[in-house]
């Protein structure tokens, strides 16, 4: 299916390396078509309903005797295939024109090849049916990701980000390898079929160890706080189409892995697993959005929001695990639906936002929001799409982010009643934090959209910005449409999730979730709460005549004219007087001072009195507390210890002989 398509695309990209136009058209075109195939395949499968049997097969005859290339499409895999393919399709279309920005400067063929390869291995990861294939695809994902992140490798920032990304990816791979090996130890076979429910055969300690390892491993990939530090470094420096893929798809594969392992392999969960995931999710959500607020680099801001949304997804997942522990499969299914729904939602709006940001960055040549502004007039389409994305990610009705967060709230509220012990307080607290997260996200996107697209341009680059090229707009349009569809037809989406919940929790709940010909989403029953985005929109449309009628009746004679903005009687308003992104987030920075520990640096020069400064320089820095308190000290420690250890190899041959001699003596004394 789509797999060969990607392979062809990758090869094509390489083949036409020298002829960039052809390479771009070919590789991204093929990628789009293959993604479409994947999309159809996934939809076809998921449309089959809860009882759909999984598709299983061998990808290729085994080329290496000990590596099985078995693939399997089941509910979980198909859903993620859907996510991957949807985004792959949209972003490929977007890339057709986007990469024209690289013509003459960079090798577009290589970009296309790696892009295809990335989609290929990502797809492989979700359909792999064995440890070998999964791990190889997993590591390849990191490798191709690294190559794509390092695409503009001369910049030391990019290079460092690439290395950080790859090293963290490798640490996560190491954790996952160890986790899988623990499972392998119990099952004795590499295929996923033999791993299903293998947790029941393991000792409690090993099961917990495996869970912790998987949580760490997949958590790093997903960007869960505090393992997220690579994410805001790596995602922004990549070309924007790659950032979009990474932020919307790649980190989701971490979620896929966690879901696969926790629900499919590890057997019945232990009570603290769910709580751990839930708390990790909550912390990620809140901290992710708080750090996002402090950013004025547009793409970094979006990257931090990915952390936030992963947190929200994990809340659903964690609640599902906890419900499974308390033997509430129905509620587990509800939580899982919430998490998975948010997964595809986040993929679509984050992809959209990154594509929008890519268009902006391409036409302004900067990622710094303080140098943008006024783009709504210059790039109206992009602005519109970005606004849709912004509303969606802020979880505001009637868009899709709201729907999935609504489901998450429902799951969390149920958690309090359905579970026992004091730990159940975690549920409403997470709910409250989810509210905080949503509200802060709204703050952040008011800032992101307002500073980037509204008011006057803050630099010449922004003043001369041009609307994005056609295919880029089409790409964004596809995702905008996805956001809207996901928002307006939640019951259809829930039906697509049936095979997944059936597989992982043994329940399918789309029937209980949909109401009123599928236009209303219910929380398992009508009494427990309902919501309908279509209804809300209809309501708005129906109410719309009111202001117009008022206008017609009363204000017909009123005129509208353009005038300058109020400038307090000064001589005109300049962009310098506009509110900045840094200024915008200042209240938040002050409120959460204890967390951010902002460092400020003010320099004044004055002639006769400090109150009449001629120039003022103000710098403010935020450093992440985890980097500051954990990662940097850790790195320094490792390097220092390594330097110490280096003294072992100080050059003296006598010392070297002594090592051997002591080894020999020790072995003779102790080992015989």
């Amino acid at each position: 299916m789509s797999l060969c398509g990607y392979a062809v695309g990758a090869l094509g990209g390489l083949l036409f390396m020298r002829r960039e136009k052809l390479a771009a058209a070919f590789s991204f075109g093929v990628a789009a078509i293959s993604a479409l195939c994947g999309l159809l395949g996934a939809l076809l499968f998921l449309g089959g309903g809860a009882a759909a049997p999984s598709w299983q097969g061998e990808l290729l005859p085994p080329l290496i005797p000990y590596i099985q290339l078995g693939v399997r499409l089941d509910g979980l895999g198909a859903f993620f295939l859907l996510v991957v393919s949807l985004l792959g399709c949209a972003i490929s279309i977007y890339s057709l024109d986007y990469v024209k920005g690289f013509f003459g400067r960079r090798n577009v063929g290589v970009l296309g090849a790696f892009f295809n390869a990335l989609l290929l291995v990502t797809t492989l990861t979700v359909v792999a049916n064995g440890i070998w294939l999964f791990l190889i695809a997993w590591e390849l994902m990191a490798l191709t990701g690294y190559c794509l992140v390092s695409f503009e490798y001369e910049k030391s920032e990019t290079r460092r980000a690439g290395v950080l990304f790859f090293v963290m990816s490798h640490i996560d791979a190491a954790c996952i390898i160890l986790g899988f090996l623990l499972l392998f130890q119990a099952s004795g076979d590499y295929s996923f079929d033999s791993l299903r429910g293998v947790g029941a055969k393991m000792s409690a300690g090993k099961r917990d160890a495996a869970f912790v390892l998987f949580m760490l491993g997949f958590g790093i990939k997903a960007g869960v706080v505090p393992m997220h530090i690579w994410l805001p470094e790596a995602h922004p420096v990549a070309p924007s189409n790659v950032s979009a893929i990474m932020s919307s798809v790649l980190i989701k594969i971490g979620i896929y892995g966690l879901a696969r392992v926790c629900f499919d392999f590890l057997g019945p969960p232990v009570w603290w697993w769910g709580v751990t995931v839930l708390v990790a999710g909550t912390v990620s959500a809140v901290l992710g959005v708080l750090y996002a607020l402090m950013e004025h680099d547009l793409k970094r801001l979006l990257a931090y929001h990915s952390i936030e949304n992963i947190g929200i997804i994990l809340m659903g997942l964690g609640a599902a695990l906890e419900f499974l522990y308390f033997k509430h499969p129905l509620l587990a299914a509800l939580s899982l639906v919430a998490g998975m729904y948010h997964t595809i939602n986040h993929a679509s709006f984050k992809g959209l936002l990154f594509l929008g940001a890519g268009a902006v960055v391409q036409s302004t040549h900067t990622r710094n929001m303080e140098e943008m502004g006024g783009l709504a007039k210059r790039m109206p389409d992009t602005a519109f799409y970005f606004l849709i994305g912004a509303v969606a990610i802020s979880a505001l009705p009637p868009l899709n982010g709201f729907i999935s967060e609504w489901l998450t709230y429902q799951a969390l509220l149920r958690g309090f009643g359905a579970t026992e012990s004091l730990w159940r307080l975690v549920f409403p607290l997470s709910g409250a934090m989810l509210a905080l997260t949503g509200a802060l996200a709204a703050v952040c996107f008011v800032k992101a959209f307002g500073i980037t697209f509204l008011a006057q341009p803050r630099s010449d680059a922004a003043r001369n910005a041009r609307e994005a090229a056609p295919s880029m707009r089409v790409g964004m349009l596809v995702l905008t449409a996805a956001c809207v569809l996901l928002a307006f037809f939640p019951t259809a989406v829930v039906r697509l999730l049936d095979p997944l919940t059936q597989q992982l929790t043994g329940e399918h709940i789309s029937g209980q979730l949909s109401l009123g010909d599928g236009l209303v989403l219910a929380s398992l029953s009508e009494k427990a709460g309902t919501v309908s985005t279509v209804g809300m929109v209809l309501m708005g449309v129906c109410l719309l005549p009111i202001p117009f009628v008022l206008w017609l009746v009363l204000g017909r004679k009123a005129k509208t004219r353009l005038g300058p903005t109020w400038d307090c009687g000064q001589r005109g308003l300049t962009p310098k007087m506009e509110y900045t992104a840094t200024g915008f987030s200042k209240p938040i920075r002050m409120i959460f001072k204890a967390l951010f520990r902002p460092r400020r640096d003010t320099q004044r020069e004055y002639d006769f009195s400090p109150y009449f400064a001629t120039t003022v320089r103000f710098e403010s820095h935020i450093e992440e507390v985890f980097v500051q308190r954990f990662y940097r000290p850790l790195r320094i420690l490792i390097v220092r210890v390594s330097r110490r250890i280096r003294a072992l190899q100080a050059g003296g041959v006598h010392a070297y002989l002594l090592y051997i001699f002591i080894t020999l003596l020790l072995l003779l004394i102790f080992a015989l």
């Binding site: 791990l135 390092s150 290395v163 190491a174 090996l181 590499y190 390594s642 041959v653 051997i660 080992a671």
Partner: protein, 490 residues
């Protein structure tokens, strides 16, 4: 016949090289010899695959799957290094770093080195195996001392003294093995020192002597393989030897030493059960990986960086052997093969960089992919291969090794190996990224690789890439049989 020729052809080439002094003839003689050896090695493997173990001279020379495999690898590395050496030495001579006399010395010594290495897996007699390994050391010492510099002299001295001490212990171990078996095989058996005979009676050998012997062998041949803490000579020797010789040391010689350990561990396992030798092997393997890691992290010289990587890989091979079982044996053999295929590429690229920039210090080199595009790209590729990133095959063997560790219930050593591998990965990646990517210095000149160098690099790079995706049937069969043999002894 094949077996004899495999050893004799390089030695003959050496003698011929000693007689002539024209560079073109020397080059051709070397290449010809290595090409013949490569062909012969492949023929030998085919023969072993079809007919099982091959013996000549009443079992003095003997080749089974494992020895055929090691011989193949040696031949492959020798050929690649031979091709590379032509380009490398020409450039060194042009740069005025070496004289024609030295070139000749290189071409005389290298075939001896290769011949001795070929002999290691092919001789059946353990005493002669020791002799062969010692001979490789002697030939390579002279190659390490190739450049008449203070530093190369220092490296050579450390190499031979440390190696000498180690090899003496190995000889002692070998003697003790013979002693432990002497009762069983009788006093006057002329072939009593043959491995193929010993393995049949190993389970009846005297265990106490076998234990001591194995400890001594492990320390002795471990020195040669570069297991920590006997590894200290490696960085010096690898960094000071001419690049093709260093590649031979790192990719081929290490196999010979590990081969020795494998043979003896089979004897020990059969005699003592696998627990005892397994423990020791895992101990040394894990120690090597962990010792190499910090040195990689804060390394300043990329040639030495490669040496620490090779210590790490020796550790992995030995640890895999120690984990044992079907998976462990296969892991060890796979790792040996994949490592030998990938390592020369790194050395070649490092050599190119060193020749182009005139320095082995990481600090002074950046942006190679711009100044030497082929080298830069392949350097990265090779680095990825060596640090165990898929699709390159070392990932497979490393994963197999870890599986073996878990299957054998040795969870903690496996976890430590993972820690070491990840640390080494981080260090390697950081260095390689700065070295290859990055903005070249403004005064950096764009260079190009000579066809010989490029050819050698491609000769290695192609299998590195291909092996990640396809493992040819016969090669796997050979490895599989070798692994089975090791596994059966346990």
């Amino acid at each position: 016949m094949l077996l004899t020729l495999l050893v004799l052809v390089p030695l003959l080439a050496s003698v011929l090289c000693w007689l002539v002094c024209k560079r073109a003839v020397l080059e051709r003689l070397n290449l010809l010899a290595f090409a013949i050896v490569a062909v012969l090695a492949v023929c030998l493997s085919a023969q072993v695959l079809n007919h099982g173990a091959v013996e000549v001279f009443g079992g003095v020379l003997r080749a089974d799957a494992l020895s055929a495999l090691v011989a193949d690898l040696t031949a492959f590395v020798a050929l690649a290094c031979g091709v590379y050496a032509v380009g490398y030495l020409r450039e060194e001579e042009r740069a005025g770093k070496i004289s024609a006399r030295l070139v000749r010395r290189y071409y005389v010594l290298t075939p001896i080195f290769v011949g001795a290495m070929m002999a290691v897996p092919l001789v059946n007699n353990l005493g002669l195996m020791w002799v062969a390994i010692e001979s490789t050391t002697l030939a390579s010492v002279l190659l390490v001392r190739f450049y008449n510099q203070k530093s190369s002299l220092e490296a050579a001295w450390k190499y031979i003294i440390i190696g000498g001490a180690g090899i003496a212990l190995a000889l002692f171990g070998t003697v003790l093995i013979y002693f432990s078996a002497a009762q069983v095989i009788g006093e006057h058996a002329e072939n009593g020192f043959n491995w193929s005979v010993l393995i049949t009676v190993a389970d009846k050998c005297q265990p106490a002597a076998m234990k001591l012997a194995f400890v001594l062998i492990l320390v002795g041949y471990g020195t040669k393989a570069g297991l920590a803490p006997m590894h200290t000579w490696k960085p010096d020797a690898y960094a000071e030897a001419p690049v093709p010789s260093a590649a031979l040391l790192a990719a081929a010689f290490i196999n010979c030493a590990v081969y020795g350990i494998m043979r003896f561990s089979m004897l020990a396992s059969k005699c003592l059960g696998h627990q005892y030798p397994g423990n020791l092997l895992v101990l040394f393997g894990v120690a090597s990986i962990l010792v190499a890691a910090p040195f990689v992290l804060v390394q300043r010289n990329f040639r030495r960086l490669l040496a620490y990587s090779s210590i790490d890989h020796a550790g992995i091979m030995v640890a895999a052997l120690g984990f044992g079982g079907k998976l462990g044996a296969l892991g060890a053999v796979l790792h040996m093969v994949f490592h030998a295929v990938a390592k020369p590429l790194l050395f070649f690229c490092a050599g190119n960089v060193q020749q182009h920039y005139g320095t082995p210090y990481l600090r002074k080199v950046t942006g190679v992919i711009r100044t030497l595009p082929w080298t830069g790209g392949l350097f990265l590729l090779g680095a990825f291969a060596v640090i165990g990133v898929p699709p390159f095959s070392l990932f497979q063997s490393e994963f197999m090794t870890l599986s073996a560790g878990f299957a054998a219930g040795r969870v903690w050593p496996s976890a430590l190996i993972v820690v070491g591998i990840v640390t080494i990965f981080a260090g390697f990646l950081a260095h390689m990224s700065k070295l290859n990517l990055g903005q070249p210095a403004p005064d950096a000149v764009r260079g190009s690789e000579s066809p010989w160098k490029l050819g050698a690099m491609l000769l290695v790079a192609v299998p590195v890439i291909v092996l990640g995706f396809v493992l040819p049937g016969p090669l796997y069969e050979l490895m599989h049989r070798a692994a089975q043999m090791i596994g059966d002894a346990q």
